[in-house]
């Protein structure tokens, strides 16, 4: 198992390199450059050339890439061209907020989603199932930013339970986490329910009943366990999405975070910041997939057997 994890981590290195090339090229393919945001109105071509030279933007793309990569290897993400601060400082400020929001949202989707999915499966086709699945349909079709606004209106403005925006206190996390978490919950409910219905039709479940085991125990210890495999896959895929895709929610709740930082940097063509943000998101996706695979192996002995 340890050998497997080490091997998987090593396999991330080439993926990481490929991703870094793609990220670097994409950002440089976008028309415009950060210099436009820096030079004062009325400055001449010489001043522009000086700034371009200062940030190495006059060199060829491969050269610029290698300089960036060399910095990365040393742990140096460079200096933000427009913001004029070390990129690592900007990331260090944004990342904890994103991790808290993303991590908690993931926990909410997983916890609430699996419980509701199992309940819906238990009362399949009955009123409880239909109520849950109706709520799920609503939850997955509502745009998150709109849901966020509605929540602010109800819980902050009308009821006054939670702050409207910001990230100063833990209570300011509640609404954004619920907003993102609900969308994920809808997905997890559906996958859990379907996977459990499918697993309940397997042969071995019949034999479990024949052994005289109580149905509730069969559902929780056997059927649900089988259903967790696809659920874990879905959740692992969402890790990266939640870290970066939370940007609309971050904007609605005026929260700092990777998403907000990325959008701002993109608008200013601040290459080093954009590259660093995208790299963080790519790494989140890669690590998320890895965690998902490790969990699969923990659940299923057949997966473990294939690792050797």
């Amino acid at each position: 198992m340890t050998a497997y994890v080490v091997r998987r981590l090593l396999m991330l290195v080439p993926v990481f390199l490929a991703v870094s090339v793609v990220i670097f090229l994409i950002i440089h393919l976008i028309p415009g450059d950060p210099v436009d945001n820096l030079i004062k109105i009325g400055s001449g071509p010489e001043q522009r050339a000086a700034i371009v030279a200062r940030y190495g933007l006059d060199r060829s793309l491969p050269e610029q890439y290698l300089i960036w990569l060399a910095g990365l290897v040393r742990g140096d993400l460079g200096t933000a061209i427009v913001a004029q601060r070390p990129v690592s400082t900007l990331i260090a400020q944004a990342l904890p907020h994103s991790l808290a929001l993303g991590g908690l949202s993931l926990l909410v989707s997983a916890g609430v989603g699996i419980v509701l999915g199992a309940v819906a499966m238990r009362y399949r086709d009955g009123p409880i199932d239909q109520a849950i699945m109706g709520g799920v349909l609503l939850g997955s079709t509502l745009p998150t930013f709109w849901l966020g606004l509605l929540m602010i209106l109800l819980f902050s403005v009308v009821l006054g339970w939670f702050p409207v925006s910001g990230a100063r206190t833990w209570s300011s996390l509640v609404l954004p986490v619920l907003t993102i978490g609900l969308a994920g919950t809808a997905l997890v409910v559906r996958v859990t329910r379907i996977a459990m219905i499918e697993a309940a039709q397997k042969d071995f479940v019949l034999l479990l009943h024949a052994k005289g085991l109580p149905p509730s125990r069969i559902r929780l210890r056997h059927v649900l366990r089988h259903a967790l495999t696809p659920v874990v896959t879905i959740l692992a895929l969402r890790i990266g999405w939640i870290l970066g895709g939370a940007v609309t929610v971050e904007v609605v709740f005026a929260r700092p975070g990777l998403g907000t930082l990325l959008i701002k940097a993109l608008n200013q063509h601040d290459y080093p910041v954009v590259q660093a943000c995208l790299l963080m998101l790519a790494m989140a996706v890669m690590l998320g997939t890895l965690v998902g695979d490790i969990l699969q192996a923990a659940i299923d002995p057949r997966v473990r057997a294939n690792l050797k």
Binding site: D203, F204, L206, L207, A210, K211, I299, D300, P301, R302
Partner: protein, 322 residues
């Protein structure tokens, strides 16, 4: 009166009747063979005895299943569970899919004794290893910790049998326990089941479509066709003087020594599906001895010296078709 008495049992799904008036008995130390082609209702009968019909959305519509003088069809689910796995054990058709792939073998056997006999984890464990050893599973202590995918088909079926024995049952219902196995392993498993019945005085309902297996180990045979009982007799009488043309045709399908190549016979046609059961005797479209009455009237049960047959024109020893 037998340990298990299936009395004019009918089973249905929705408005369809799948089984009609099935009747047979099994006593301790006895093996009843339940035979018939696919679709004749053998597995459904097994599920009915184990009280598992609700799982497939079916229910008992008439008749009784008396087990040790208790009518199982009248018990609610929680009281039925006290029988299931404890006094009535079930062995399914395909050992490849019968075990939970995510749980170690040992735990799957342990749970029966822990649940029904109230054994502690340690006692259940040593008992499981003992049962596995009795079933001639080599290195039972190692197998105990292994997962189903690490075992061969024959080994898995032995584990399924161990699960059945763990509750110290009085009756085992085995639904084609050897169909999915290699021929050599088939013989071992049949031998194993037979010796369990003889040594421990269990009752066994052995569902099979293999007439060879029936001849080899069963005491009595019930032949099902399209959801009805065609014939029930002691095994020797059944093979010597089959009374139902269907039984006769099934016996004719067994390959015999000295048969010429390509002379293997079959029964023309196939078992009709529930929605297309013919009127009258359900076997009449495939019966070579049919008369016009067979097409309209359902044959009643006629008593034989040691059994019963449902046919308007039952065969006797000297008047055989074919």
């Amino acid at each position: 009166m037998g340990l298990l008495e299936v009395d004019r049992l009918s089973v249905g799904i929705g408005r369809l009747t799948l089984l009609e008036e099935i009747a047979f008995e099994v006593d301790r130390g006895e093996i009843l063979g339940l035979v018939g082609e696919s679709g004749s209702g053998k597995s459904l009968t097994a599920l009915a005895i184990a009280g598992l019909l609700p799982l497939i959305g079916a229910r008992v519509t008439a008749g009784a299943i008396r087990f040790d003088n208790t009518d199982l069809t009248r018990l609610d689910e929680s009281r039925l569970r006290k029988f299931r796995g404890r006094r009535i054990a079930f062995i399914t058709q395909n050992p490849m899919t019968a075990l939970d792939p995510l749980q170690p073998i040992g735990e799957q056997v342990d749970v029966v004794a822990r649940l029904h006999l109230g054994l502690t984890a340690d006692v259940a464990r040593s008992r499981t290893i003992e049962i596995l050893t009795q079933l001639r599973i080599p290195e039972a202590a190692t197998i105990y910790r292994q997962y189903p995918h690490q075992l061969s088909g024959g080994m898995k079926q032995r584990v399924v049998i161990a699960m059945a024995l763990a509750g110290e049952p009085d009756l085992i219902v085995a639904d084609e326990p050897t169909t999915a196995l290699d021929v050599t392993v088939q013989a071992q498993i049949i031998h194993l089941l037979t010796s369990l019945v003889r040594e421990r005085g269990l009752a066994l309902v052995l569902i099979t479509h293999d007439m060879g297996v029936v001849a080899q180990c069963c005491d009595r045979v019930a032949v099902l066709y399209a959801g009805r009982l065609a014939e029930q007799q002691g095994v020797n009488a059944l093979f010597a003087t089959p009374a139902h043309p269907y039984t006769h045709a099934l016996i004719d399908c067994i390959p015999k020594d000295g048969m010429a190549r390509d002379s293997l016979t079959g029964i023309a046609g196939s078992v009709p599906s529930v929605a297309h059961f013919p009127p009258g005797c359900r076997f009449h479209p495939r019966c070579i001895g049919r008369q016009s009455v067979c097409e309209t009237n359902v044959p009643g049960a006629t008593a034989l010296p040691g059994g019963v047959v449902s046919c308007h024109f039952p065969l006797n020893g000297d008047q055989r078709h074919g």
